[in-house]
Symmetry: C2
Subunit: 456 residues, 2 copies
Amino acid sequence: MIKALLATAALLLATPALAAPDRIAATRDKALKDDVAWDIVEGLTTEIGQRLAGTEAEARARDWAVAKLKALGFANVHVEPFQMDVWRRGEGSAEVISPFSQKLILAALGTSPATPPEGITAEVVGFPSLAALEAVPDGALKGKIAFVWHRMVPTQDGSGYGPFGDVRRKGPALASRKGAVAIVIRSAGTDYHRNPHVGATDFGTATPIPAAALALPDSDQLERILKRGKPVTLHLLLTPHVTPNGTSGNVVAEVPGRDPNAGVILIGGHLDSWDLGTGAIDDGAGVAIMTAAAKQIMDASRPLHTIRVVWFGAEEEGGYGGDAYGACHKAEKHYLTGESDFGADNVWKVDTRVLDPKAPAIVALKEALLPLGIEPGANKAHGGEDVGPIAKIAGVPIIDMRQNGLRYFDIHHTPDDTLDKIDPAQLRQNVAAWTTMLAVAAESTEVLGPVAGDAN
Amino acid sequence: MIKALLATAALLLATPALAAPDRIAATRDKALKDDVAWDIVEGLTTEIGQRLAGTEAEARARDWAVAKLKALGFANVHVEPFQMDVWRRGEGSAEVISPFSQKLILAALGTSPATPPEGITAEVVGFPSLAALEAVPDGALKGKIAFVWHRMVPTQDGSGYGPFGDVRRKGPALASRKGAVAIVIRSAGTDYHRNPHVGATDFGTATPIPAAALALPDSDQLERILKRGKPVTLHLLLTPHVTPNGTSGNVVAEVPGRDPNAGVILIGGHLDSWDLGTGAIDDGAGVAIMTAAAKQIMDASRPLHTIRVVWFGAEEEGGYGGDAYGACHKAEKHYLTGESDFGADNVWKVDTRVLDPKAPAIVALKEALLPLGIEPGANKAHGGEDVGPIAKIAGVPIIDMRQNGLRYFDIHHTPDDTLDKIDPAQLRQNVAAWTTMLAVAAESTEVLGPVAGDAN
């Protein structure tokens, strides 16, 4: 009898706690009626608008976030500031001087230096790909403006952003090494509007040169002009400037857990945006989705794990907020993490990065997501710029809710990133997906990590 | 016997000539393989780009047109110049000062005067419609900026452009009468991109005030901000200017007919464009379609009627080219006319304005168009700004090939009016439609007019 009791007790101890499936389902389905996410992204994009990292607009957005998170009932709402050099766009214009005089629409890439005040007038040398640019000898483009007209097509998983985004990330440094005085690229985008897709570029050890992205119709136009076979002269004027020692910061809010030693569940998105749109899909939607999901759990009952929602600062300029969080919180116990930073269209797949993808909590999560149309994915989640650093430092398990990316690179980093691009029904499906994750994970005592390997 | 012969001769005289159906069909189907229209619109938009009426760009476009039309083998290629005051856009910017500081994207309406150099800073008063603006007493908007946020949805026949376009055409004059210092309107468009839809406005006897169109996402943003209920202050800067006594002109080319007394068949589109895009759908496509159709006939055999193709100047600013043509050519015999100025998407219906819509030539035309998917329409064709004046003056019969307008007002008068918006297959269907019209009409001796009534 005592032996039997002991065995039962051992079994109880050995079986990790898990929320009941009907309770998970009820929490998930309630989240499909969520209005908090829309309220947040509508408010943030309307009352603040663009939120370029380190600027006064991003500071106003932090104030807005603190007030909103407090009003929603979150605990421990505070800002964790950090310093950064602040890049501002200024003006950007381009004009074909010959053979066919006309203006082209473009915008400077983040970190691009300015042209001289009178601009740069030089011959254009075109390349169909980054590889073609790489193939010319160092110094071969002395005095020229390089132009890379690589193409990119929509993909559901956004995988094209790796190779084609590299034209933006690496092209300017490469053109500098080849001797170019400036570079213009076909935007890393998939739309056909007169809206350039901006984003950061990294000069590494190369000498920075003015670098800009053409709207896709303008890139096609310049390509057609070049293919007429006559020398093409372009006038380029960019006036970005950098102010050192600006302030950005992460806005932190919590749903306190019943067990302070259970480990924090960290979820978030980024508060900053590029400056041409109002940062609706990138990433107003992300902070809205995550905050709404945490609020759903808060309203249901006090969770076992503390849920921490972070609206990260300065993601776009190179993941400053994620790095600052990792450095500040690396000693703290994190149970699980995930971020939302790929728009607001439906989640279609869930990836994990956990010790055992067949663990009951993970199986329960995948089953609870099926009614939302979310298929089980692989155990290769990677997080992103925001939660990636802490995940990498501390081996924190990761959940990725993979969103449909077919529209994402039509809008990403353009002036067109505005509220009207968000479908409220799909936004709610995102909230329900993350609420489901929290409903499972916030009551789970199963050991999911640490996980090894590069989480980015 | 002699009586019988005379009767036969009378019948031969009384039965108008008509091309054989198989020949019409062969000419039509060959036109479905046309490459001339694409070559023209690709060349014009690439080598010239925007062609604002009366500017040096429009002059270069006329030179380009003359060279192209001569190269294609047209006869009597020449320019018929006329004078006009030339409006140029300058810069345009807007910023919400309070309660939520942010920039908005807009562009001046054609004929808008400039703001003072320092801009205008004033409170915004919003109206959901032109009728709501009309309802306030004269002088009620003293010192204010009026804002009309009327909506517009896509329609196949473009009919929404009447009432919703009136907000642009008449709203500024009305706001001026109400005492407003400026007006901003939601663009008369159906897309959701950060591209304002410009176009001409008519102040009539009202005092001109600065007038601009907001991109649709920006109009929605301003509407949301206003609906927060706090006073909204907007800073508006517009710098258009007018140069008197500029030159525009119509470019004329002909396929000479066998019978100089048979009457001219006049077809055309307009060469000028608004300045933000490259005038691909409005109206590079139109001149390309009409020229290609005439070229198809030229290459088949010498027609009975002379076919005259006109690339009209300065349509956008108020139909200057059409008026100039009407004044210059009113004494000349015109057999039939039509214009193409509604993009490059498929023709879906043919309307006529002829004495007898059941005349054999018209029946033959409608039958020959059926294989292109073009349904027979009503006898209420109206032409347009270009051929409308001569049609009205001289009672010239009209053919309208009604194009699918569901996409048209996404692009119309925006920076997005670029070559990529043209589908080559649909462009060819347009060429085939007009080639069919010419194949029928150019051999017809049937009396189709004069037609009475206002052709516009």
